[in-house]
Symmetry: C2
Subunit: 358 residues, 2 copies
């Protein structure tokens, strides 16, 4: 226990990210179940730099060995240590049918196929706007989640940023009355508009920078919004505020992802205060690991290269986020529509998390 506390403290000193004994236990438990760094990050639900520092400390203590492929192995001394601490391999009880989202993917097989066909020529994720898109099962599950909660069928949907192409999936589903995408990346605006025209979807994309006021015609216009925001508190407040400005009143819903890999639970808490206290909305759902991101090309170039086990190509879609659903309450009056100049895509906390190399 004292050993674990020492490790937690050292990690805090090295990363500046507060780390608990339980966090260290979760990484050890992950190591007992997997030899792949990115698998352990995924299982531990912790910032990747925290996991990296813990593994590095364990390696220095000779409790873990790194082989030439960068895989991680617990040494005999390591297993003794785990036994003494009563730590066993992490077991995964995620439902394999829905990947833990709770959404039935058997019914919409046609939508899944159609989406893959239609978006085969989608633009690549680029670093400029912190992009990285989600898997097709994730996109389709988002559509069905919104439908299940009564937020999509016959509704007007606002997408604030859409490198995931949720707009196309929503259009192909035939459910929403109207879909508007506000997006900063010209490549995506063009791509979405062309695809919508080609397939006759009720989808329109417009170039928009979150920092600008929402176009007047969209203030109080929508039933539902969806966004996948950058994870500084400032950017979260800005994007969720924009979404709420777009909603028509009480009983409307907002959907967005939030990671553990880039946002600490302390930040989660501050953000939740913002939602329930300042914005006065209610959080109705937080679905763990709902969003699975396709590994993006620029990952290994953008992160620390001082640990060999980190510079290993991910063998799973390790980067995930929880799905939040919020709902506006009776008496909801909207959020003021004004221009807010700020930095959106540089995240001090994420910089620490990603090892100061990004």
């Amino acid at each position: 226990m004292d050993d674990l506390r020492e490790i937690a403290q050292e990690v805090y000193q090295r990363t500046g990210v507060e780390t608990t004994v339980h966090d260290v236990e979760k990484v050890l438990s992950g190591l007992a179940g997997s030899s792949h760094f990115w698998g352990i990050v995924c299982a531990a639900r912790k910032p990747f730099s925290v996991v990296a520092e813990i593994v590095a400390i364990l390696e220095r203590k000779r409790l873990v060995k790194v082989d030439d492929k960068g895989d991680l192995h617990i040494t005999p001394e390591g297993w003794d240590f785990l036994n003494v601490q009563g730590i066993t391999a992490r077991k995964d009880y995620t439902c394999p049918a829905c990947e833990g989202r709770g959404i039935d993917l058997a019914k919409p097989q046609e939508l899944i196929q159609k989406f893959d066909e239609v978006t085969a020529d989608r633009p690549k994720a680029i670093i400029d706007y912190d992009q990285g898109f989600v898997t097709t099962p994730t996109v389709v599950s988002r559509i069905l989640l919104m439908a299940d909660r009564g937020d999509l069928q016959g509704k007007k949907l606002l997408l604030l940023g859409d490198d995931d192409l949720v707009s196309i999936a929503a259009g192909l589903s035939g459910m929403p009355r109207e879909v508007v995408v506000l997006e900063i990346d010209d490549r995506l605006v063009e791509y979405i508009n062309n695809t919508a025209a080609e397939y006759g979807l009720p989808v329109k994309a417009v170039r928009y920078d979150f920092r600008d006021k929402l176009p007047e015609e969209y203030v109080g216009y929508f039933d539902t919004f969806h966004t996948d925001p950058p994870e500084t508190l400032e950017a979260l407040e800005l994007t969720i505020g924009r979404g709420l400005t777009g909603l028509s009143g009480e009983g409307c819903a907002g959907y967005f992802g939030l990671t553990r890999a880039e946002a600490s639970l302390k930040k989660w808490n501050l953000f939740q205060q913002l939602l329930v206290e300042k914005f006065k909305v209610v959080i109705t759902d937080i679905i763990d690991n709902f969003n699975h991101y396709v590994n993006w090309d620029y990952l290994l170039n953008s992160i620390r290269n001082d640990y060999s086990f980190v510079q290993v190509k991910p063998r799973l879609n390790w980067y995930r986020s929880a799905m939040y659903r919020i709902e506006t309450l009776s008496g909801f009056k909207g959020v003021e529509n004004r221009s807010i100049p700020c930095e959106l895509y540089v995240d001090r906390e994420a910089l620490v998390y990603l090892g100061n190399q990004r």
Copy 2:
């Protein structure tokens, strides 16, 4: 739209529960998909008295007919109304494998069987303590959820109230180091202790009233707590506070259910403020409809009998709740342990919800 707003306002006047246009839409959408009152309550995720008033208004407007069995049918005028409003039948996209919980129930078949065998002679739910227990898949999913999140294996678990017999399931799973049940109902204390003795489980039950201080030996003793609290704000603050008093520090977890059937989203918001602001914990999960309750004997006697369609025996486990998981943050110092005299089992809001007959 104006018609829907009028209905929402009338429901508010009759029940005192704030009701939105979207709420009315959800009930209509539920009616288009089911003729069974309790199925519609379940789908609409709204207080049952709100659903009852909406249906009654629709019946007076001749948009809905009630047959002699108490089943509900949309009239031809009703279908015209739905078409004009653009409302269609609610579609259910819940994963059938896990009932939407995201937890794999295929692996623990043995635990499910064993639990059913061992608890075949369990005490019946009684009205005195607002009891009503959950289904076996729910209990086992709770165990696996805690295990999946690293909160059970090798840990000390506190159960504040346990008519669900989570303690027995946890003991049978072989995972926790120690389980302590604090429970007001002598029948359950005796039953749990006898069962634990018979099967050699590391489980102990002690009689306890939430209003009393936590026994000193349990302050700061546990890694994880679980409770299924009464849903007044006062009772929620009390029970969650007790759970937090029992936890040993940062990085520990609490689990509990919260319904839509008895707590309004406005109350959810106030409760969330309490969690993130006053208790300074973070909400990591809110899993919709995780907890399914077995229909209890005293339901129809305890509710309004002025609407025939309400006095119908439920054909599904309609009463459900969301599962919350909270986690303590770095620097967590516990919650003061003091006696708090208050009314636990009378809920003004729930009284309204259940039609003032209870």
